[in-house]
């Protein structure tokens, strides 16, 4: 038996490979996996273009979403009014962009708050257990029984005339429940792991454990959930605004624009087609991005679209 073991060439090669792999950080790996999904990348490009268009586009046209052109009522798209005009001479291009801005901002903010709230509630319920858990989950059950649309519609008179941020908070306040349940489940299995136990026994306070150990460990899920929630939030917002229960005039959202346009959808299609198209493209691109992120962050999950 030789006294010392010479590293075999194979092992040396493997070590070099491992070193090479260690250069690839997790972030870069996720990015690489995401970029491989062409549909998701396409969705991201479309979304970025939409955001740029929504916020930069108004500067290209001389019309404001509030101004009216008394010389053209219900005109087809033309060189002066790119998307046509409404019954009272408003410029549809300016209105669509303003609506897109509002819907995008509301969707992004709502998704952010909703997932944040879900993370906080779900992790607390799972971590503390006992009565905290029981009370919070009862609350979740209760809110799940009342469809979000109904409760916000009933509340709508109370935020009429106030800032649209109230609407965002309401949308978030009634959309976090399902995510909270999943977060609770993840917390239950995470809190039995050694690193959490170690933190607890060295006296780290619960709040710190939740925010520093539990939530970062489910960040993949939270990111995916927040992305997918953007689409849901935009759909909820436009649905409520469609009936006048959401964004109030003189402000516009894609929902109010579509509602205004559908009354004469058949004769004057440009009144709703641009807003409707913008809505579909926005939600579609967000859901495709969410799907790509899921595959990139969590490769073991069942994929929906492959290439």
């Amino acid at each position: 038996m030789p006294a010392e073991i010479e590293p075999s060439p194979a092992i040396a090669v493997e070590a070099a490979l491992v070193e090479d792999l260690e250069d690839v950080t997790r972030g870069r790996l996720v990015l690489r996996r995401f970029l491989r999904k062409k549909i998701a990348v396409g969705g991201l490009i479309v979304l970025v273009l939409l955001i740029a268009f929504a916020f930069g586009g108004p500067y290209l046209s001389k019309w404001d979403y509030r101004s009216t052109d008394y010389n053209s009522f219900l005109q087809k798209p033309s060189s002066t009014h790119w998307f046509g005009t409404t019954q009272i001479g408003q410029d549809v291009y300016a209105q669509t962009l303003r609506g897109l801005q509002k819907s995008l901002v509301i969707g992004l903010l709502t998704a952010f708050f909703s997932t944040g709230l879900a993370a906080a509630v779900g992790a607390s319920a799972g971590y503390f257990g006992g009565w905290t858990d029981r009370v919070l989950m009862w609350f979740v059950d209760l809110l799940l029984v009342l469809p979000q649309f109904l409760i916000i519609a009933i509340l709508s008179p109370s935020f009429r005339g106030k800032t649209w941020l109230v609407f965002v908070f309401l949308l978030a306040a009634f959309s976090w429940m399902v995510t909270a349940r999943i977060v609770r489940g993840l917390t239950l299995s995470l809190k039995e792991q050694e690193f959490v136990q170690a933190a607890r026994f060295t006296g780290v306070p619960a709040r710190k454990i939740i925010f520093r150990h539990l939530l970062p460990n489910m960040s993949s899920f939270l990111i995916i959930d927040a992305t997918l929630n953007v689409g849901g939030a935009i759909l909820a917002e436009t649905g409520l605004s469609y009936f006048g229960f959401g964004v109030q005039s003189p402000d516009v959202s894609l929902g109010t624009l579509i509602a205004a346009g559908t009354r004469s959808a058949i004769t004057f299609p440009w009144l709703f087609l641009f807003a409707g198209g913008a809505l579909i493209i926005t939600v579609l691109s967000v859901s495709v991005i969410g799907d790509g992120l899921r595959d990139a962050l969590d490769p073991n999950s069942a994929t929906s679209i492959k290439p």
Binding site: I154, P269, G276, L284, S304
Partner: protein, 326 residues
């Protein structure tokens, strides 16, 4: 089994009671029935407005808890008070409930069955043309809200009608009023009215269920028990349906319970846009009319439906998963 179901039932009953109370409280504090009576010209004296509001139990100067008590106690006996126009809520509800229930039942059955079928086909033909087209179609459908889909269907129907030369598809109401003829005429007429509203609800349901069914089925397709079933001589088709589909259906029970709330919301849009006089249309009109009692009743109705869906999901779970012993 009976004991488990009973416990669930009691739990659900409490949730319905809480949800209804919450719905009433929110409606009673947020809506302003007073403005319906005040905004007339010449302005009516305050005493007469108060008298009218008191008769309806909608006076905002009465403490909300007193109003709630006055509403809830008869409500337990099936008397839900009066609408803001002085009609009995229960009479109107009896007329409208059937319309919504029919829409929801057909929507969830057709949507569920076709969605599951499409998901299974998609999974079995993974990465083939069928799968890609189903995936793309369902992503697009899921990005179109019901109200936009309904409008697009209307425009499409108009084009179809123009093409055919006579009205093939109707998009207002449930039936042609004052239609003569026999049973068959009535049946076709109903069907012609029924196609578009149902499509506007069902397409989204199919897309939703097919997505989840596909991924559940894919998880199952690679499993050992399916291989074993085929190894013992079962044909692939039989193995897929008897062993694969049954297992892959289990998570669908949970999704059904969650999706039902969204279906309810969708029905509101469908009823409103296609002019079906159901609970959803009633709800939207009542919120604009500040009709507190009606709004509370529709909330209760939807809470009951969501919980029935939950109960069905529980039962389906128990029936499908042999590991669940109840």
């Amino acid at each position: 089994m009976a004991k488990f179901l009973l416990r669930r039932f009691v739990n659900y009953l409490i949730l319905v009671a809480l949800a209804t109370s919450l719905g009433y409280m929110v409606a009673a504090t947020s809506l302003h029935p007073r403005s319906n009576f005040e905004g007339r010209n010449p302005p009516p004296p305050k005493a007469s407005v108060d008298a009218k509001l008191d008769a309806l139990n909608m006076n905002n100067e009465t403490p909300v808890l007193t109003r709630f008590e006055r509403w809830a106690v008869p409500a337990l006996h099936g008397d839900f008070g009066k609408t803001i126009d002085g009609q009995k809520v229960s009479t109107e509800m009896g007329r409208r409930m059937g319309v919504t229930l029919r829409l929801l039942l057909i929507g969830s059955v057709i949507g569920g069955v076709l969605g599951v079928a499409l998901g299974v086909v998609s999974a079995v033909k993974q990465y083939q043309f069928t799968d890609y087209s189903a995936t793309i179609a369902s992503f697009v459908v899921l990005s179109i809200p019901v109200f936009l889909l309904a409008v697009l269907l209307k425009v499409g129907a108009l084009n179809v009608n123009n093409h055919v030369g006579h009205t093939l598809l109707y998009y207002t109401g449930e039936k042609t009023p004052g239609l003569g003829g026999g049973v068959w005429t009535h049946f076709t007429d109903r069907f012609q009215h029924f196609v578009l509203p149902t499509l506007s609800l069902v397409l989204g349901q199919i897309a939703f269920y097919s997505r989840y069914q596909r991924s559940a089925m894919l998880d199952v397709l690679g499993s050992d028990f399916l291989r074993t079933a085929q190894a013992k001589g079962l044909r692939r088709r039989d193995a897929l349906i008897k062993h694969g589909l049954r297992t892959a259906l289990i998570p669908m029970a949970t999704f059904f319970a969650y999706e039902f709330g969204l279906l309810l919301t969708g029905a509101v849009f469908t009823e409103k846009i296609f002019g079906w006089h159901g609970m959803g249309e009633w709800f939207v009109d009542s919120v604009t009319k500040n009709d507190v009692n009606t709004v509370a009743v529709v909330t209760a109705f939807s809470a009951v439906l969501v919980l029935i869906a939950g109960m069905i999901a529980d039962l389906a779970y128990a029936a499908l998963d042999p590991r669940v012993r109840i």
